[in-house]
Symmetry: C2
Subunit: 272 residues, 2 copies
């Protein structure tokens, strides 16, 4: 369950980004995140844990600096020990107005941060109004369940996807990233077919799903967001399927949304 929100406070935005967001010519997605977090006065913590490259955190510090944010901190959390005993990281994090998780491998995020004081702190901050963004692996990790790995393709098949517990900032979403670029509708449908209560959000590259505290997702960026709504599902053959069997699904509702369009997770409707 996501951390409880104090009655006086409002939850922060939860911002999964589909990967490969523009960092130079028109960094619309990152700019919107910065604006939410306070613009030039934002304090942003970068968490590069998903990445195996040594410079990923420093690069995002430079990017956010170049966009006018002075206070950007690279929390180089590489081990569970870093995520547990490093008081400096916890203190820095606790004063931030925005948290940004980079891309890489979402299993590095979940295995390194899962259950640590850093993960607990990010959950509490989100409940207190701090905005948390993640790109690619960082996006996958944000929800209660994440897609750990899978195969590309249009059709859902039984064994094409692996789920794992995520950070749990929200339980309403199941996120997939690099969505149309890597042909991932099949694996998202398979992942949702296990238990249709979640809304599937397939996010293209250079595109962010800005989920506000009221439960409304807004599309920001140059790509598309595919909303997959199983709330009316009448039939799934998942319980009978095995190996590579295709999965029959009856009454999938789907919306393909571009920049500025909004979807309400509570009403399951696109807002006009």
């Amino acid at each position: 369950m996501p951390s409880k929100v104090d009655s006086k406070e409002e939850r922060g935005y939860i911002i999964p980004i589909g990967g490969r967001e523009d960092k130079l010519a028109s960094p619309t997605v990152l700019k919107r995140f910065i604006d939410l977090a306070g613009g030039e006065d934002a304090k942003i913590a970068v968490i590069p844990t998903a990445s195996k490259l040594p410079d990923t955190g420093d690069e995002y510090v430079k990017i956010f600096n170049s966009m006018g944010v002075r206070d950007v901190y690279n929390l180089k959390i590489e081990t569970r020990l870093d995520a547990t005993v490093n008081e400096e990281y916890l203190n820095t994090l606790s004063e931030c107005t925005g948290v940004f998780m980079t891309g890489g491998n979402q299993l590095l995020l979940s295995t390194t941060l899962g259950g640590t004081p850093i993960a607990q702190m990010i959950r509490r901050l989100s409940a207190r109004g701090v905005h948390v963004a993640g790109t690619s692996a960082g996006a996958a990790f944000m929800s209660g369940f994440m897609i750990a790995s899978g195969q590309p393709g249009l059709m859902p098949r039984c064994n094409m996807v692996s789920l794992a517990p995520g950070l749990g900032l929200t339980n309403k979403l199941l996120v997939d990233q690099h969505f149309s670029q890597r042909d991932r509708l099949g694996r998202l449908l398979t992942a949702l077919s296990y238990n249709p209560y979640m809304v599937g959000i397939g996010i293209d590259e250079d595109t962010g799903a800005f989920l506000n505290p009221a439960g409304v997702v807004e599309v920001v960026g140059s790509g598309m967001i595919t909303i997959v709504d199983f709330s009316h599902l009448k039939h799934s053959s998942m319980h009978n399927a095995r190996d590579d069997d295709p999965i029959s699904l009856v009454d999938i509702r789907m919306h393909l949304l571009l920049e500025g369009q909004k979807y309400n997770l509570n009403t399951h409707l696109v807002e006009f």
Copy 2:
């Protein structure tokens, strides 16, 4: 408009097949077509016009013979002249209980047969109860509109598909074939977005969509059929799009169906 059905008669099945149907080990789709057309007593006309290979028609004659049908005729219609003045072809066709159009290029079918006595005859036969099947290009050609060509991909984009008039056995369907194998959801969505009245049917290889006279489509074969229903569509951005722009679509209904499942084109519901 499809040819009118005489009040005493029933329209034949319309059977688009997704291509690469099994012809040897378990020819489920072809077997079902043969059974409808009369089993061993069927008289089947093969129309290989879509194919540029010289043997396609003869090969299907052998296949149907090997499945127990004695009376199989290869109508080698290669030009508009063949489709216009060849009385023997017309006479043979008029006595058939089943018509089978092979794969190849659907534009060869439409440019060679469009408006000829052969096309008119197939339409009248279908209205009189003769079952008409087509595989791959032959499947694309059957409806009032066909997808002439397009690009693969998950997301609909403005310029990714070309439509052309088809044979017009039904106006309710827009067919796409080799559907998940060639990643064709995007182009089917684009094609439907021009005018949402049609139901999109994406047919996988070795799979047939058996449309009965009551308007119910049944899945036969080893693959999946993707039904795309735009009858509840609330928004399409197609009128504003150009070049390679992605198309926003709100409230797509989709069903992924396997062998034995049925979809009613009149009620827009999967039948249980």
